[in-house]
C-alpha cells in the first residue's frame, strides 16, 4: 500500500519577491513567463512592505529579491531595510547590470545579507551574446565588489548546450573571483527556456561529462567554496520533488502581486492564482484554491496514486507535466514510470537533431518585443 502525502499545512519558509519583469538582459533561458511584457501594474512600495510583514509573521525567513532585474526598482533599499528589521535573511538575485559600488554599500547598510550575481559564460563573447548586452567585464567587477564589501558572494551560472563545454572554465572563474558559493544550474525548461529547448538542451554525454567535472571540483575546493549543482531531470529516472512539495515551503510573489506556489505556476492554465491586492498572505497560503490544488495526494492519477515514492517526489513537477503532456495533473514525464515518458525522449531527440543539423535554429531572446509577438 502506498502511504499518503501529509496534508497538514506547514508555514512558508522561503519567500521569492519578484519585484519587476524589467530587465536590461535578454537571456534566452529566462524563467519569466513568455507574456511578461503584457503583465502590467507592478506592486507599489506599500504593498511590498505589507507582503514582507505578513509572510514573515507566518514564518518565512529566507527571502530572495528577484525579477527581472531587481536593481531597476528604486525602492529596493527601503524593502531591504524593512526585511532586515523583520528578521529575514535576504538575498539579492541580480545580473549585476546597473550595480555600482555606492549601491552595494547602501544595500549593505540597509541590511542585505548576500548577493547572487549571475554570469552567462566565463568567456566574454559568449556571455555578452547570451545576455544580449555587453556586460561581462562589469559583472566580474560587481562580483569583486560584492566580496570587497564583506557579503558572502554567490555566483550563479546557468548551464546549457551553448556553454556546457566551458564547465572547467566556469569553475575556475568562480575560484578566481573568490565566490563563497557557486550555483551551477542546469537549465530548467520553463518559460523562455522551454521555448528555446531545442537550441539549449545538451546531450546526455555532455551532461554526464560536465557533472563528473563539477563533482570532482567540488571535492577539490571543499571548505573554500560550496558548489550547488542543480541537476537537470531530462536524463534522470525520477522527477524532482518540486518546490519541496506544493504549498509546503515556497511562496513566490510576481511583480503584479500574483501569489504563486512556484515561480512558473502562472503558466498553468486552469490554476487561478490569487493576488496580494485581494487577499492576505495568510488566506492565500491557507485558503486559496491555487495553493491547495496540489496539496496532499487526492489530485494524483496513476501511476503516482499507488506509487510508494509519492511521499518523496509528490508526483514531480506540475509545470513540466503541463508543458510536456498538456495536463498538469499527469505524472511528470521526468519519471520513467510515466506513460508519457516518450515526450522526454522526443525533446532529447529534437534537441540533438537541432545541434547536428548544421542549420541550428536561432535563439529567441527574452525581450519585450519578442514577448509581445509571442503572447
Amino acid at each position: 500500500m502506498a502511504g499518503s502525502v501529509n496534508l497538514t499545512i506547514t508555514p512558508p519558509r522561503w519567500l521569492l519577491a519578484e519585484l519587476t519583469y524589467s530587465c536590461p538582459l535578454q537571456c534566452p533561458y529566462c524563467a519569466n513567463p513568455i507574456d511578461f511584457a503584457s503583465i502590467k501594474n507592478e506592486l507599489g512600495t506599500e504593498d511590498w512592505l505589507r507582503v514582507l510583514t505578513e509572510a514573515r509573521a507566518m514564518g518565512a525567513v529566507q527571502l530572495g529579491f528577484s525579477g527581472g532585474e531587481p536593481l531597476t526598482r528604486q525602492d529596493l533599499p527601503v524593502l531591504v531595510k524593512h526585511a532586515r528589521e523583520l528578521g529575514y535573511f535576504s538575498n539579492l538575485i541580480t545580473s549585476g547590470y546597473g550595480m555600482t559600488e555606492a549601491k552595494i554599500v547602501e544595500l549593505k547598510e540597509a541590511g542585505l545579507d548576500h548577493i547572487q550575481v549571475s554570469i552567462q559564460s566565463p568567456e566574454k563573447t559568449l556571455n555578452d551574446e547570451l545576455a544580449g548586452t555587453e556586460s561581462f567585464e562589469h559583472k566580474k567587477e560587481v562580483a569583486r565588489l560584492v566580496k570587497k564589501h564583506g557579503y558572502p558572494m554567490v555566483l550563479c551560472v546557468v548551464v546549457h548546450r551553448k556553454n556546457i563545454h566551458q564547465i572547467r572554465e566556469i569553475l575556475e572563474m568562480a575560484t578566481e573571483l573568490g565566490a563563497d558559493y557557486l550555483e551551477v544550474a542546469n537549465t530548467q525548461y520553463y518559460g523562455w527556456a522551454h521555448l528555446n529547448r531545442d537550441q539549449l538542451l545538451p546531450t546526455k554525454e555532455q551532461f554526464e561529462e560536465a557533472e563528473a567535472i563539477a563533482q570532482a571540483y567540488k571535492e577539490k575546493v571543499k571548505g573554500k567554496m560550496k558548489i550547488y549543482y542543480v541537476i537537470p531531470d531530462f536524463y534522470e529516472d525520477r522527477p524532482k520533488a518540486c518546490m519541496n512539495g506544493w504549498g509546503t515551503t515556497f511562496l513566490t510573489i510576481a511583480p503584479d502581486g500574483t501569489a504563486l506556489p512556484c515561480h512558473s505556476a502562472r503558466e498553468l492554465p486552469g490554476l487561478v492564482c490569487p493576488n496580494v491586492k485581494d487577499m492576505s498572505i495568510y488566506d492565500i497560503w491557507h485558503h486559496s484554491e491555487a495553493f491547495n490544488h496540489f496539496r496532499g495526494d487526492e489530485w494524483m492519477k496513476e501511476p503516482c496514486r499507488s506509487c510508494p515514492e509519492k511521499t518523496k517526489d509528490f508526483g514531480g513537477c506540475h509545470c513540466q507535466a503541463y508543458l510536456l503532456t498538456g495536463d498538469m495533473h499527469n505524472t511528470d514525464p521526468a519519471c520513467s514510470l510515466s506513460p508519457d515518458r516518450e515526450r522526454v525522449y522526443e525533446a532529447i531527440f529534437k534537441a540533438r537533431n537541432d545541434s547536428e543539423s548544421g542549420n541550428v535554429k536561432p535563439l529567441v531572446f527574452r525581450n519585450p518585443k519578442n514577448s509581445k509577438m509571442l503572447a
Binding site: 508555514p11 519558509r13 507566518m58 514564518g59 525567513v61 529566507q62 528578521g87 535573511f89 538575498n91 545579507d113 548576500h114 547572487q116 564583506g150 557579503y151 558572502p152 554567490v154 563563497d180 558559493y181 550555483e183 571548505g223 560550496k226 550547488y228
Partner: protein, 97 residues
C-alpha cells in the same frame, strides 16, 4: 578488525578563541520555537544544546572555556566529547572559526 577512530578533534584547537561566522546569522524563530542558522540558500534548525554552544562562540571563549561554562550551567560533567564533537562539525560547516 577494530577500526581506529581517527581523532575528530584534529582540527579543533581547544585554546583557540572561537567566532561565529559574520556571513551567517543565528536567530530565534518564533513560529518554529527554535534557533536556526541562516546562510545563502539554507536553514539549519538547532536544538537547545547546539544553540548554547554556538552562542558562546562569541570571540571571547575557546573550546575549553565553553566546556567549563556549559558543564557548570547544566550542572553536568562528561560533556567534553559531545561539545568538542559539535564544535568540529561547526568548523567543518563553516559556521564558526
Amino acid at each position: 578488525m577494530k577500526i581506529q577512530h581517527e581523532s575528530v578533534n584534529m582540527a579543533l584547537d581547544p585554546t583557540k578563541i572561537l567566532n561565529f561566522s559574520p556571513a551567517l546569522r543565528l536567530q530565534w524563530e518564533e513560529t518554529q520555537k527554535k534557533h536556526v542558522i541562516l546562510y545563502p540558500e539554507g536553514i539549519v534548525e538547532l536544538n537547545v544544546p547546539s544553540t548554547e554552544i554556538l552562542k558562546l562562540c562569541d570571540g571571547e571563549h575557546n573550546a575549553e572555556q565553553i566546556l567549563v561554562e556549559l558543564e557548570a550551567k547544566f550542572n553536568q560533567t562528561g560533556l567534553k566529547n559531545d561539545i568538542y564533537g559539535f564544535l568540529e562539525v561547526a568548523i567543518e560547516n563553516g559556521w564558526i572559526s
